[in-house]
């Protein structure tokens, strides 16, 4: 698929919640320092797949899976792996901005603090907020509540918060779906910027967004039995100009979904 080794790789991944299976037989790799988009119709298990990458699904009691997810070649679901340990290396930005009800500074400082960061916290916070392209808007009000920010600013704050623990991968679960077009554009530009240093996986139901920002695209689609499979995974250009599977073509041309 690619020249160098993927940072995250799934093998025969199969996920169920209780008796209901969501995705089946997913094999894909996330390339380092690239943006990988996961697209597909509602309920096709995009978020479920994404949440396998940082073991967020562990919080759901009925979750179980088979197959494996490798992070930098190591099995993420090995018994010896503490999910807490890998979550700061694989950051996550959620669909709805979820700033903590604390000051802007404390939001960004939260990750470093819980992980026992020793060093210049103020400098790290500033650097993280700068990278999230939010610094000029908040530099004079770091002590203000994060809840006083607009939705787009809150989402960039959440990105800054994720950056502050210096992750290797950033997972984004429909990060723009609750935002207006201008904020969306800001976040997309930011993602392009960040992809120089981070590997990014974004779930989106917006195909234009996937086409605009991503390098690779994975298309999930439910089968007859409602369980989703990975229909196609390739370079974004390929998927959108010359899809190999007719279901991919039908989806991206808007014939269903």
């Amino acid at each position: 698929m690619a020249e160098n080794c993927p940072i995250i790789e799934t093998r025969e991944l199969n996920v169920c919640y209780g008796p209901v299976c969501v995705i089946d037989q997913v094999n894909m790799g996330v390339e380092p320092n690239r943006i990988t988009a996961i697209i597909g119709p509602s309920g096709s298990g995009k978020s479920t797949l994404l949440r396998c990458f940082n073991r967020m699904n562990d919080l759901i009691p009925s979750f179980h899976m088979s197959g494996s997810v490798l992070f930098a070649g190591e099995d993420l679901y090995d018994d010896s792996v503490d999910p807490t340990e890998i979550r700061y290396q694989i950051g996550m930005v959620f669909q709805r901005p979820n700033p903590f009800p604390k000051s802007i500074f404390d939001n960004v400082a939260f990750g470093p603090r819980v992980n026992g960061f020793r060093g210049d916290l103020a400098a790290l916070v500033e650097q993280s907020i700068r990278r999230a392209a939010l610094w000029d808007e908040v530099k004079d009000r770091l002590k203000d509540s994060a809840l006083s920010l607009s939705g787009g600013q809150q989402q960039r704050l959440c990105i800054a918060r994720a950056l502050a623990v210096q992750p290797r991968v950033i997972l984004m679960d429909e990060p723009c779906s609750a935002l207006d077009p201008i904020s969306t554009q800001a976040i997309e530009e930011l993602m392009r910027e960040l992809s120089n240093e981070y590997s990014i996986v974004i779930v989106t139901h917006n195909m234009q967004q996937a086409a605009r920002v991503s390098d690779y695209t994975a298309f999930l689609n439910p089968r007859e039995d409602k369980i989703s499979e990975l229909i196609e995974f390739d370079q974004t250009r390929q998927i959108f100009t010359n899809p190999k599977d007719e279901r991919t073509e039908a989806y991206i041309t808007g014939r269903f979904g």
Binding site: L59, T84, Y88, Q89, F94, S145, R161, V165
Partner: protein
């Protein structure tokens, strides 16, 4: 209005508006009934007891002579007992709620516990008095002390604190927990730094309610063996004691008119203690909320 275009639903509109007004008036009447009763009660008590509330009433011990009788022992007893009960109920209640909401898995066992806590909240308080008598006074040999009284009242209000704290924890959106976990916080860090601060105002509300109930309780403490005539302030956790409601009850049941005035004055003192404790808690809660939303 006059040359408004007639609409198809005009007739219904008039009726709907009338229904709304009737409901409005009904609600207003309900609150007036409640407030009226409260006002009558307070007025009655204040008329009878107001002239008795003075410094010597607060600092005197009970007496055979109605005009010399004071509330000091009961006031101190109540404060001590509530301090013990409030501290215990708060710590155990919040810890239990955290366990049930954040740690326990949602299985039949957790459900059984939950149902039983709700049941405990409905057990008559006198039953807790018997429990306190058996366990704290006799088995643990604490005697009929401040400590035993505090423990008994703590048990009595514990279910209320647990249920209110659980509600408060449940009201913290799961997105906050996920946000914490996604940054590598452990479960404890997430609870301590994110969930608890946000749930705290709600927890405090539950504790206010619980303590307000405890301070007015008489039956369990009488069963437990609190005294009715105490000419001393408690000098330690194992000292014997009385509390305001018991003292009031004692005065009310005397034949002399003077004691009835003392009882009314005692009720005023009890109300003041209750309201100032509530005010303190509300103040604390508001400060906390402001800090959160800043």
């Amino acid at each position: 209005m006059a040359d408004r275009i007639p609409g198809r639903f005009d007739r219904r509109m008039r009726r709907r508006r009338l229904e709304g007004q009737i409901f409005h008036v009904l609600c207003l009447l309900s609150i007036l009934v409640g407030l009226g009763m409260l006002a009558a009660l307070l007025l009655n008590i204040f008329m009878e007891g107001w002239q008795r509330v003075n410094w010597s009433f607060l600092t005197s011990f009970p007496s055979r002579h109605p005009e010399a009788a004071g509330i000091r022992a009961a006031l101190f007893g109540s404060i001590y007992v509530i301090a013990v009960a409030g501290t215990l109920a708060f710590s155990f209640g919040v810890a239990a709620a955290i366990y049930l909401e954040e740690y326990a898995s949602r299985n039949w066992f957790a459900r059984v516990i939950q149902i039983n806590i709700a049941n405990l909240a409905g057990v008559p308080s006198i039953v807790y008095g018997i429990l306190g008598l058996e366990i704290f006074v006799r088995f643990l040999a604490l005697g009929k002390s401040v400590l035993a009284g505090g423990f008994t009242l703590a048990l009595l209000v514990l279910p209320i604190v647990i249920i209110a704290s659980e509600e408060a924890l449940r009201a913290v959106p799961s997105s906050i927990r996920e946000g914490g976990y996604a940054l590598g916080a452990t479960r404890w860090q997430t609870i301590w730094r994110l969930v608890l601060p946000q749930a705290f105002p709600g927890i405090l509300t539950g504790v206010i309610l619980a303590v307000s109930r405890a301070i007015g309780e008489t039956a369990p403490l009488i069963v437990m063996g609190a005294l009715t005539f105490v000419p001393f302030t408690p000098d330690g956790p194992l000292s014997r004691f009385t509390v305001l409601p018991i003292q009031i009850f004692n005065w009310v049941s005397r034949p002399q008119e003077g004691f009835h005035e003392a009882a009314a004055a005692g009720i005023i003192v009890l109300l003041v203690v209750l309201l100032s404790m509530n005010a303190l808690a509300v103040l604390l809660r508001n400060r906390f909320q402001r800090r959160m939303e800043g």
